[in-house]
Each structure stands twice: as C-alpha cells, then as structure tokens.
Subunit: 648 residues, 3 copies
Amino acid sequence: MKLGVCYYPEHWPEEIWADDAARMKALGLTTVRIGEFAWSRIEPEPGRFEWEWLDRAVDTLSGAGMQIIMGTPTATPPKWLIDAYPDVLAKDAHGRVRNFGSRRHYSFSSTTYRRESARIVEAMAQRYGLHPGIVMWQTDNEYGCHDTVESNDDDARAGFRVWLKERYGDVGSLNTAWGTVFWSQEYRSFDEIDPPLATVTEPTPAHVMDWRRFSSDQVAVYNQMQVDVLRQNIGAVDTTHNFMGHFTEFDHYPVAAQVNVSTWDSYPLGFLEMAWWDDQTKLNHMRTGHPDFAAFHHDLYRGMARAGRFGVMEQQPGPVNWAGFNPAPLDGMVRLWSLEAVAHGAELVSYFRWRQAPFAQEQMHAGLNRPDNVADQAYHEAAQVAEDLAALGDIGNAEQADIALVYDYEAHWAHEIQPQSRNFRHDRLTFSFYSALRRLGVNVDVISQHHALDGYKLVLVPSSPMISESFVERAKKSDAHIVAGPRTGSRTENFAIPEALAPGPLQTLMGIKVALAESLRAGAEHAPSGGDDIIWREFIETDLTPLEVSSDGNGTVWQNADLTYLSAWPTEETLIGLVSDLYDGTPIVSKPIEGGLRIRRRGGYIYCLNYGPEAADLDSVLDGSLAGRYVLGSSLLKAGELAVLTAK
Amino acid sequence: MKLGVCYYPEHWPEEIWADDAARMKALGLTTVRIGEFAWSRIEPEPGRFEWEWLDRAVDTLSGAGMQIIMGTPTATPPKWLIDAYPDVLAKDAHGRVRNFGSRRHYSFSSTTYRRESARIVEAMAQRYGLHPGIVMWQTDNEYGCHDTVESNDDDARAGFRVWLKERYGDVGSLNTAWGTVFWSQEYRSFDEIDPPLATVTEPTPAHVMDWRRFSSDQVAVYNQMQVDVLRQNIGAVDTTHNFMGHFTEFDHYPVAAQVNVSTWDSYPLGFLEMAWWDDQTKLNHMRTGHPDFAAFHHDLYRGMARAGRFGVMEQQPGPVNWAGFNPAPLDGMVRLWSLEAVAHGAELVSYFRWRQAPFAQEQMHAGLNRPDNVADQAYHEAAQVAEDLAALGDIGNAEQADIALVYDYEAHWAHEIQPQSRNFRHDRLTFSFYSALRRLGVNVDVISQHHALDGYKLVLVPSSPMISESFVERAKKSDAHIVAGPRTGSRTENFAIPEALAPGPLQTLMGIKVALAESLRAGAEHAPSGGDDIIWREFIETDLTPLEVSSDGNGTVWQNADLTYLSAWPTEETLIGLVSDLYDGTPIVSKPIEGGLRIRRRGGYIYCLNYGPEAADLDSVLDGSLAGRYVLGSSLLKAGELAVLTAK
Amino acid sequence: MKLGVCYYPEHWPEEIWADDAARMKALGLTTVRIGEFAWSRIEPEPGRFEWEWLDRAVDTLSGAGMQIIMGTPTATPPKWLIDAYPDVLAKDAHGRVRNFGSRRHYSFSSTTYRRESARIVEAMAQRYGLHPGIVMWQTDNEYGCHDTVESNDDDARAGFRVWLKERYGDVGSLNTAWGTVFWSQEYRSFDEIDPPLATVTEPTPAHVMDWRRFSSDQVAVYNQMQVDVLRQNIGAVDTTHNFMGHFTEFDHYPVAAQVNVSTWDSYPLGFLEMAWWDDQTKLNHMRTGHPDFAAFHHDLYRGMARAGRFGVMEQQPGPVNWAGFNPAPLDGMVRLWSLEAVAHGAELVSYFRWRQAPFAQEQMHAGLNRPDNVADQAYHEAAQVAEDLAALGDIGNAEQADIALVYDYEAHWAHEIQPQSRNFRHDRLTFSFYSALRRLGVNVDVISQHHALDGYKLVLVPSSPMISESFVERAKKSDAHIVAGPRTGSRTENFAIPEALAPGPLQTLMGIKVALAESLRAGAEHAPSGGDDIIWREFIETDLTPLEVSSDGNGTVWQNADLTYLSAWPTEETLIGLVSDLYDGTPIVSKPIEGGLRIRRRGGYIYCLNYGPEAADLDSVLDGSLAGRYVLGSSLLKAGELAVLTAK
C-alpha cells in the first residue's frame, strides 16, 4: 500500500516546493495529489493558459521521486467563466441561483459547463497526459458535495424530458408507470413535465424517484465525459474519483465503474458529529470516530471498484473545520485509521493535506504540517505508518469475504421519498447491519443488488424496496443464505406496491406476504424487540412459524430454507444473534465484541484496532485457535492503540 | 345513518367495477363518493370531454344500488390548464410560484381559475345533475389543505384592494381603523396597499387580520360560485364540502352555510401525531386517537351545518401515510369511531377509501381493501357497524345540548397574529374546554359567537378577543351562564384595545377590567393554578372577590351573577370544577372521568366508548339512575371497546 | 441625571396633549422624545409638508416646560416614497425584496434613500433647528434592528466594489489578502466581485469579513450624512442615536463618535428571554432581567460615547410585546433599573412610552400610562426615581475605572464567520467576563481595542482574533496587566492565521504559541475546568509552566509578567479567581457575590441593587471599611429592592 498526501503548490511560495517535496519523500510518502482547485491559475483569462508554474511544480515533485495524482480542476470554475456563462450555475428547488463564491458552483446538466469542462480537462491532459511523473488522474472533486446533485435549471429541465422519453418511449407509458391518474396529473407529452420541485404538497413519488435517477445519471454522464477526454490523452494511466462518506445523493456504482480506482475521503470525526448517532456515542468516540465508519466505507468502495482497487484519497489528520464541534483525534488515531485501510485492502492512504492553509475556508483544517511548517501530530503518525508497513512486509491481497451486505442507493431515495416513519433511513439501517457483523469479527463485502452472489455464504439485504427479479434468480442459484430486512421487495421499479404485495419477488422464495406495515414513535409499548428510536413493524401472512416474536406476539423474524425475513427494524443484538446462527465460517472472536475494539483478517494477518473508549484485552476476545505472533503491538490495547498478529 | 365509501373508478380496471360495487352493497354501504380528482380523465384536452367512462362508472355503481356522491374535480386542475393559464397557480409570501405536481395548485383569487372551475363544474352538473343515482355533490376537496388559503398573486393583491375599499369606503377610515399613523404607514389610496407579506418585521396586526379575513372570504366566494353553478343544474340534490380536522386557516361558518350538509374528513391517528399533545398523550393514544378529537369535530361541524346535517366524508380505516409516525389503529377503533359519529348525530360515515392504491402519493394509506383486493381490518369493522346500526334501530335525532362552546376562527387568527406567549393557541385552549366537558359526560354544541344562545344553560367562550356587542346582548337575554376565558373582549373588530380595556363589552356584564396581562415560561413560580406549559395571567381591577387565586394571591376566577371570567389559562381540572358547580343538568357520570372512556347520550341511547389505554368499568362511572339495558357490549370495556345502553 | 419619556403626539387627539405635557412635568420628567416615526404626517404627499400639527405639539410640550428630543423620521419612509423609489427597499441574501409594511424598510446603501433622508432631515432641521425647546436630535431609530444592516441590492453591490477598491487599491492585493487562490476564486477586477451571499457552501471568510465591514460602514456613512445635515441647521444642540442591547451587527464605535451623546434602549426582560442563558437563569430573572444586562450596556455605551456622555433613551416600563414570553417586571424594577443607570453615570433615563398604544404593532407594550390613561406601575416608580434623585443630590461624575474590558465587534463577526464550535460567541464570552467582574464589585470600563490604556490596572480581552500591533504597543507602555482569552491574536487583519500562529502579536509579550485548538461537545471528559456547554481548548507551546491545568493535565491559564493568557473557554469562577489575584484596587465586597445582588460605586455613593431571586444582606457582603450611611433603603434587600449608601 502506498502512502500519499494532498498538496497545493499554488498556495505556497515556489521557493519552498523543493523542500516540501524532499520532506514528503523522506517521510515515506509515495504519491502527491495536486491541481484539483487550480483552474484560475491554469487559465487566468479565457483561453490564456499559464502552464509554466504547474510544469515546475510537477517537475519539482516528480524530480524528488514523488508520484503525482493530477486532479482536474472542474469543481471550481473561475469567475470569468461564470460571468461569461451564467447558465453554468445551478439553481435550487425554487429556481434561485446558487452563486459563485465557494465551490461546486455548477449544474451537472449544464451543456455549457460540459463543454467548458471538456475543454479544460483536454488542455490539462494534453499538457501532462504522458508525463511519466503522473500515475493517476482524479476527475473533479467530491461529486455532489454541498447538495449539488440536483439543480432546477433550464438544461436540467430539458434534459429530464429527454431522459424520460428515453426511459418510457411514449408518455402514456409514463402516465401508467407513475400513476398520474391519481390527482389528475396525466401528461399529454414529455414537454409538459417539470422537475417535481416546489410543489404545493408531496409530488408523485415515482416522479421524484425518476428525477433523482436522472440527477444521479447526470453525475455519471458528466464523469464519463471527463474520463473519455482523459483516456484519449493519458494512455493507460489510472483514473479515479474521490467519493465521500455517508453520501447517498447519487448512485456511486456506475461512476465507480468508469474509473480504474475508487477512492474516498475519510473524515471519521466530522462525520461522527454530523451523523445520526446519539449523544453518548458521540462523546465515546469524539476522538476516534465511530469504530465502523471507515471500515464500512472501505468495504463499500472496494466493493464497487473495478477489480477491487480502492483507496483513501483524503485522510483526516487532525481537527477539521466543518462540524459543529471539532476535536483533535486521540494520539495514534491517524496511524490506526491508516492501518484500518490496510486491513481492508486499500492501495493508497493519502493524507489531507501536506500543510494547514493559513487563509481561506479551511484554515482551521489540520494538515501533516502546521501553517508555520512545523510537523504536526499526523506527520509523526504517518512516519509510523511507513514503518509499520515495512514491518508487515507482504500484506497479501484482499480476498472475497463469506458475507455480503447489499448497499442500495435507490433504496435510500425510496425511503426518503416515502419515509412513513420520521426516522427510517436506509443508510442507518445498513450501517447497523454492518456494525453487527463487525462485532462478530467477520469480513464483509459491500455490494450492490446487481452484484454476482457466487461464493457468498450469507447475503444481507437490509432494506431494498425495489429488489429485482434478477437478484432473486441469482440468490436461488447461489449457495448463500439471504437475510432480507423490512420493506425489502415492497416496491416495483416504478415505485408502486407489487401486485402480490411485499416482499414482492421474495414471495416466491419463502411464502410470506406483508399484510400491513406500521411505524410507531419511540417509547411505544408492545413494540418489537428493538430499533432504538425507530419502530417499524410489519404483519405477515404466512404458514410459517416465526423465529422471534415481539412482546405482543407478533412475528418479527421468519425463516424458510435459505431465506430469512425481518419484519421489524432489528436491533444490533438481534442481528448478531441471527448471523451467529446462520454463519458457520472460521471464527475470529470467541464472542461478540462489546465496546470499540475491531478486528479484521486480511491475508496472513489479523488487524486489531481499539476505537475505545475502554481498553481491550485481545486474549479474552480473539479465538484461541487463530492468534499467532504479534508483529505490531501486543494483546493489551488502550483506546487508539492497535496490534497486528499473524494468523495461525 | 348511512355508511359509505370513497372510490376512484379511474384508478382501477373497468373489469372490476361491478364486483367492487356489488361488494360495497353487500358490506352494508349505501353511498359512494367519486370524481373529485378526475379532471384529467374527464377533460383530457382543452374542451374535449370524455364522459363515457364516467357514465359507465356511475351506471355500474348506481345499478348495484349504491347512492353516488359526486365530487367536482377542481382541487386538481390538469397540466394543460396550468400551462395555458399560469396565473392559476398560487404564490407564497415571497411571490414564488407554488408549482404543479401534487394538488390544490391554484389561487382562490384567480379570476381565470374561477372561470375555469365554473366551466368544469357546469359541464359535470349538466351531464349528471339529474342522474337519479346521485344523491349529493361535493364541491372541490378539503379547501385550504397544504397551506393554500393565502396566495400572494396579482389577482389576490387586486382583490384585496377591492375588498378593503368595500369594507372601509374611504382610505382615511382604513388608516384610522388600522392605526397606520404608527410607523408612518398611512395610505393615500387603496391602490397603495399590498398584502402584509415578506415585510421587514411584524406588519400592522389589523392589516394582517384583514388579509386573513379577505383570504378566508376568497374561499367562501369560490365555494359559492360552485354551489351556484351546481344549483342551476342539479335540482334539489344536496351539496356538501368535506372540511378537515384541526383546520383554522379560513372561517368555516360561512362556507358551511352555503351547502346542505357539512362533512369532514376524520383522521384521528394522524392528527394525534401532528397536534400539540405531549409525548405521553401521543403514546397513550397512538392507536386510538385523542378521545375528544372526533367528538369535538362532530360537534363543531354539526354546529355550523344547515339544520345540523353533518357527517364524515372520509373516515380513517388503518394507517395513513402523512404523519411522522403511522401506527395501525387498535382493532375495533374503526367501529368505535363510526359509533362516535352515530352518538353525535352524523347522517353519514364514509370510509376512505375502498381499496388501498398501489401507486402515487397515498400508496401507504390503508383502505377497506388491500391493494391485492383482500378485505382489510376496516372492511370487517365496517360490516360490524352495519350490524350495530341494525341492532340499534331508531337512533333518534340529535337534540340541542344544554351547553354551548364557542369556536371562533378570527380569535384563532388574532392569537396567531399577536400571540404574546409562544404557546398561546385558541384551538388548543378551546379543545381543553371541550375535554373538560367530555370528562363530565355532558353533551356540547359547538357554535360561533354569532349563534343564537336560546335554550343553553351554559355558554363557554374560551378566548374570543373580538367578542361582539351583539353577543353580549344575546347573552343578557338568554338564561345561560356565560364563562369567558382569558383575552376575551381584549380587542375591537379592528384589532385595537377597547377604550375601556378588556374584557371590552363584557365589562358591562360584570364589572371587571384587565389592568395588565403577562405570559410566563413554563416552570415559573407563583404561576396561576395550571396551564401546563402555558402560563397566561391577567391582573384584574374590580370590586369583586375572586373565586380562586393563584399561589401568590392573584385572582384567577371571577364571578358576577351570570358571568364567570377566567383571568388565567385554566387547567382542565379547574374547568371541570367550574362546570360541575355551574351546570345542574341531568348527570351522566357519577364523577369526572379519568382516562380514555367517553360517554354521550343521544336520543334514547347512551354510547360508551373506551379510547384507553386502560380498561374501564361502566358500573363505576355511569350515574346509577340512568343506566339501562345494554344493546351493544357490556359494562367492562377494554381499550377500543364500546357499549350502547338504553337510558332509563 | 434627567428623567424623560417617549411620546407620539400624532397617536393621540390634540385635545389631550396639554394635559399629557402637564402630567409629564408634574411627574418629575424633564425630556420628551418625539417625531421619529412621523414622516407620513409631516410629509403626507411628496413635497407637501404639514408642519402645523408638529409646531403645536412642540409648542405645547415646550410650553409646559418639557425639553424636547426630536427624532428624524427616517426609520419609516412613507408608502408614496417606496412606490416612487422601489430601490429604497433592502433585499435579502437571495435578492428578494423586503417589503413595506412595518419599519426599517430601506437599504443603508441606497443612494436614493440617502438623498431622500437628507431631504427630510434638512426640512425638519430647518423648521425646528433653532427652536429653544429642543435640546437634542436623535438620528433615525435603532439602526440595524430586524436584521437590516446587510442588504443584497444593486447599490450595495456597486458600493461594495468601490469600498474594496478603496481598501485594496488593486485587485491583486485583494486576491492575496483574501487567499482567493484557494478554490480558484481569483478576481481580475473589482467589478467581478459580488457580495458573499447565497453561495453553494461557505464563502471565503475574508470576503465575508469585508462584506460585514462594508455593511457596517454603510451605517456609519448614513448616520454621518444625517449628523452633517443636522449640524448645518441646529447650532450647538446635541445629537444622539439610540442603540440597542445585545446588538452586534455593525461596529458601534464609529457611529457613537459621530454624535454627542450615546443612548441606548434598555429592555431587560425581553432580552433575557431571547439571549443565550439557560432555562433556570431565565426563570430566576424573568421579572428582573439578568443582573448584568443593563450594567454591561451602560458601561459599553459610556465607553464609546464622546466625553462619556450616555443615557437610556428607552427604558422598559412593563411587559413588552416581542419576546416569546412577556412577564411583568417585579414591582420596583423600573426604579431599580433607573438607579442602575445613575450608578453608571447616565445623564438621561427616558421611559418608553408615555402611554400604551391601543392600536398597531406595539399595543401589548406597556407604558407609564395605560391605554385608558390611568397611571400604570411604571408611572409610580418614575415618580419615586424623581424623589430618589432629589434625595441623592449631587451624584458626582463618572470616573475612569481601574479595569477595562475590550468589546470587539469585528471579533464577534470573526467567530460567527468561522465558529469552529457551534456555541462559541464573542458576546457571550465577553458578558461572562463582565459578570465575573461585577460579582467582585469592581467598576469596569468597556472599551474598544483601539482605546487608550493609560490609567488602567487591568485590561481584559476576552477573545479578539484580530488584536492589533498597536494594542500590543499600548499594552507595553501601560502599567496594566493584560488578560487575553482564547483565540485572541489568532487572525490577521485579513482573516488569516498569523505567520507565527496565535496569539499573533501577543507572542512577543509572553512567549507562547497555540499549536492546536479544538472544540468539544458538552459532556466531554477531560475538558478544561469549565465553559458550561462550551468547551474550547488550545494546546500551548511554551517554556512557561501553566497556572492552571485541566483534569487531563493540559494547561489552561498561562502567565508571564504583565500578561495572562487563557487557553480555554473559562468559567466565571475561574475568572473571579484570576481577577481577585491580579487586581489590588480598593475592595467593595468582602467576598465574591453569589446571587443577584450587584453593587457599584460612583462618586461618593455606593449603589446596591438586588436582582434576586433571593434576598440579600448587605452587611455580609459589603467590605466593612467602606459602608457608610444609608441614603436610600437599608441593609436587607428583597428581590427588586435597592439601597444607596455613602462611601466612607
């Protein structure tokens, strides 16, 4: 695995570039990402390019032995471009312009912006495409960040109509698919259809779903455009895009399929603060991040990556500047997060950023070096990671896990469009499945519902309303036991209730029918056995006897041959019990983990990482038959400490 | 009382209409409401009508013996109409268009839409006005739903100016009435006046009050237009409109006076979740609704209906789709809610809807039948209600109650315009009065302040700032004892403090003057004896001795001959004590009810309905002298159970 | 000290003016403010002035012996002016017009409005400038109220560009200063720069800071225009503007420097309810206001006033109408608040308003008289204050205090722009410093960081990121010990991190460097010794040994010679301990005050005011060596009571 760093030569005096490059190299870093916000320096006037400074930066870094990851600068079009082409800017639901002045100020649908983006990407690729120092190209930066997937502009409106025409052929089919007869919304032509925005009350759910699919597709179309331009100019050099954490607003699978390596930006502390966890969890892990945050995203992005090639393009090095509260990581966490990436098969961990910027938006965002160029805590931990990697030597390849977990972007949108319970979130439920698996010490592959199921012993589908017939076919042919959570199979492709009701295509597999679903507020009596503040329960018609029942006698877990269905939002404890029963693979832990310790096996090594807050004793957790020699650390791990053992 | 159902033939294949109709009839249903969202099917292109399908639907239903309630489809103008006449759409306070894509996408003030509405209503009325199968016409659907009473469009602005000119004659009178000299807002002509929207800070309260009166009047003008068109074409057939629960945004009294029957849409669970009750109340009644929700609205709509003719046009049959949490009703509740309507004198209970729709916005809204056409819980309960009605036989007419409660839409607006306490709400206070009365087992008529007071022994006015001289005259002439709550009489018609201060015209009745009013946050010491999280207290100048005082010695209840004034927001317990002292009518209960049991006498029957959560023993509650023979149920009622007895 | 009142002759029948004036005089009032909302009466049509009524009002009041404070009526331009010049109206961040219909409906940047304002001010000043009854002119009313400092209109946009050009000269300097290279925001000319509003995500902090400086400057430019027009017409008569409480949106220091007397509007109860205090504090002081609210603002406005001349232009007399809850003051509080102003050196306390208005927005706002013209509680207390003043006789001049507290508007904006902790507020932290000082009974001057430091023994800088070199120079030359709180010196003038890191210029004074800062959510373990719900801590590089450390051993207080630095958000207790150690001036209290008693020495008197909720015994609090004879009150003070003693 390579270590890298993000660097902005344009932010610093040219005199220090060489020293920066030398220190990167000396620290044990291999890659350096540059360029992704530099458009105004590269093309300061329309059509006038200033390449010289970037040539020198590339040569300086490359000359010092650093491998360059070059970012296309399209996340920040310069002001002159916006002034010349105001149609580049996105608009909000009410049609209000989202102004220049920060970043990501463009609509994915803007035909002007697609042309201008192709132009700048081509110019860069022609200039540097064959430069030997460049090992990878990153398209744009963090697609969708700041709520930018959707835009209510003219191009988007026109594009949506074309997209719908391509999907449905004739408008009658669309009317049928959407059920527009309801509330007299029948369209006579595609030209009558607007985005479902700023309506008087909830718009047609199928209309919204198609708008979200269209908006998501615009991201993929836009990225493919960049990849195409690059490919014509960069030979066989790798491409990537840096995705984000907890981000659900576009379908990542097709975009990941367009690039060679899927990378993501890992900010465990900021996302702990901003996500759904309760206050106590946020306090317990304020300096470590949630024990499963980085791991989940490693598995997610590895699962969608071509040939499983993935990495971390931006690794949090210290406090960030964008959460409600911004603690410093516990000492050791930058190292621990890096080793977690190793344990999951990453080929890159790149720290963001080389040096904390003293100006502009991110001046409170730490780096490897402080603004005064003194090495900061993360610098020393990165050095330690380089040593760790040397100590580990050959870390082997990531192997397919026995267990697959289905992550489904459309499912997330479906529950947002019709939540039916204020708190029902697909990402949260899926994460809860993932945590249960992690506490059992098993390896997990995160996959889409369209992924092959061969080789899996257990496939978990937390909640996929639009589960496909094709999935059911693959499930039947596989040896895997399928566990499907509530609302799975509850909708057709067109966001309607299936003719035979939920769980739709799963009915043929197990003979249950969801007669009724309800959601209750937290604190309700006779609720099923869990769900924290989320109570979702379904009433099942079946000849089967439930495996588990709620306190008022309603079945919550059902099993028939190779399929288990959960008719209630499950607790982590329920999931742990269920997987323990269903999975007979090699054990790693002697009992489910309590607390923040996490363990993953990769190749010949077992990685043990303690996210705290309590200390952990590996001797009491690891299955005795497995534990071998300690290559790093020892059996007693304080919060923030790690150990790596050989596996017997 | 008739049972009915809401049905959308346009949603279903024509092949099943006949079966649907036959099953309705077999279930014991009499009426079926259709048509109210079918405009795009009736007139798919401008001016081209397709009547044939609707002819067949009407004939099929009617042929099966069902009586049809025909809805005018104006709540959902089709897209072609909106595209042809964009001025139909309403605008929000900032002038932003509220787009097509859901329902109620029109401004009540739009002259174009009034013309187009008259056109479609006339076309339907000419086609079906004399069809013998149609027993009632419903205008539009749920006026005002989704915050649609107000619109800041050009027609509304122009209409407001005309309305003001009619009200005030000359602009000088308006300036005086509004007090525009304050903050230099004097107008030189009506043409200078805009809606009081998107202002820098609070606009003039009298300006806002008149805007709300105008907006409310637009609803009445619009409805009258529909009624007029109908009346010219439908002979003597009844008209109705389906009002909503907890809805205060327009004055319902004049609209109710325009139609023959006042109906409303009863969704006890959704409204429990969305209204002001605390979490424990919401948990206690999550499957039953608040024990007084349906009863209050029955009394409200009966009170405003011509000749007291009212009913439920839409009765919740199972979980709905629009609250934050959507539980299934407790088994038996659909029956219980239906019998509550019987107890209050309804002439119709119509279930919404015949069959759950598998597509579009309401696919999570239950019906009598599931989407797969299997009878759902509500179907069986509706059948039970049909049996119950048969068992009861002659249920008699609803009689005038001894006690009247004044519900005052303008009062609600007045407190919204100048709350003076974050939590002070007219609807909430009025509901609290109502609950106190219900816990005493007494019958209540809900009336406007303009209603005749003859025959009442007790008239309660929870909080009517603009109580009229006319009310005081009627009160003097009546035999009723008047109980007036805080802020009653505190404003003139023009939203000013009366010259002699509050309680304004009531001063002549009892000789008190409100010297000062204050609101305190919850938890304040020395607060008056109640008010939960609402503390409102007034300091009174008077020669009277208070009946009750707060812990710091401030009078909270005052009485003089036939008038009682409450100078603090009262608790339910205070109200129960007060009414117990003041009312000497026939007792129904031996002591105030604790818990969710509710009792109402109508005709020769006593209806006992347990909204839970605890079981109730009627023997310990009913006044011994009254209880007769059990026609339905028995004395021990679990949550959700009911009994009907003959009254001795 | 003079007592006064605010009066609106245009609101009342002319017949009662003379009686009003006579009663004012009889009550002991000296001044009466009029005119500030009367534009539509003065100029009812464009260019047509009606002076006669105002002539009569002035003569009536003046004739009765009242001294008139005349307000310019520019806070409420009339409707005809807005209709003629719609560009007067301000626009919100999205460019939406903020409509006519309340007050302050203008943009400070509007060139049209500057012209029209000059016109009306000149007309009034020419009419009344030399009238002997007028003793002061007030410009406009409460600049900035209702979020009106910023406006996104065309004039503001154009003005901002000019302002930037003046500040930076060439656009390259601006690019460097703002760091626009970050995110490709480099500008090629000033004409490309827009206000940093409605951007996709956070705009450049230096861009926002300059926008706020520009917007603040517009207030000063606007006020200077009025002062200039007045000065040409009113001879040597005093000018003033009435500022507000807790208001931070523009820099008050330059505006205060333009007028002769700085006055402010004191509403202790409304601001208690709306500010940051916790629920218990709000309950404790709901009828008294926070014990330090009025005192702090007295010291703030005295500190910025020319020659220390300040006063209260509007004193709350009873419940107000604009907070979430609006209690009546405890009896005695109007007197107590008035004496607090005396204790701080005010030259005026003017009650708002003479009589409660029965109409328009403020009809729930109390006055000295009720709407029915009966004297209200505040009337009687004002009479008592007049007696108190007579009893006190010569109250002496306000002297410079030994201790200065720096209040820094730009610092407030800086923390709003980059809070880094959800709860970090400059005004709140500064107030907490002030409360600590008050509990020690010491006098405090509130000053800007540009103020002379001569004569101070202790200067407290709660949190000034942009502390200047000039301040450091003055500090060095002074004898004062400087206490600087967290984040002081953490930014340059251009909102960048100083080259040598925080505390910037303070490093030369004491040899510490802030290596890292973090913010934690409430409840975090190992937090420093306080901060309520705010945890901010910094890690210090230094050779010094900390004076105090947090529970995990991190230094929180550092001292070197004459400088103390707090590297964590301090509790009041920490501050009290610190100041007790550092300050060796004459003691007033024998130990820090617990509870709501407050004490201030001015001239030969000691003022003791009990804000409750508990009673206080002065004998146990006052330093024995000081207490002399009681001129008012006695040693035992119930909540709301006061005493004034001679000082030994």
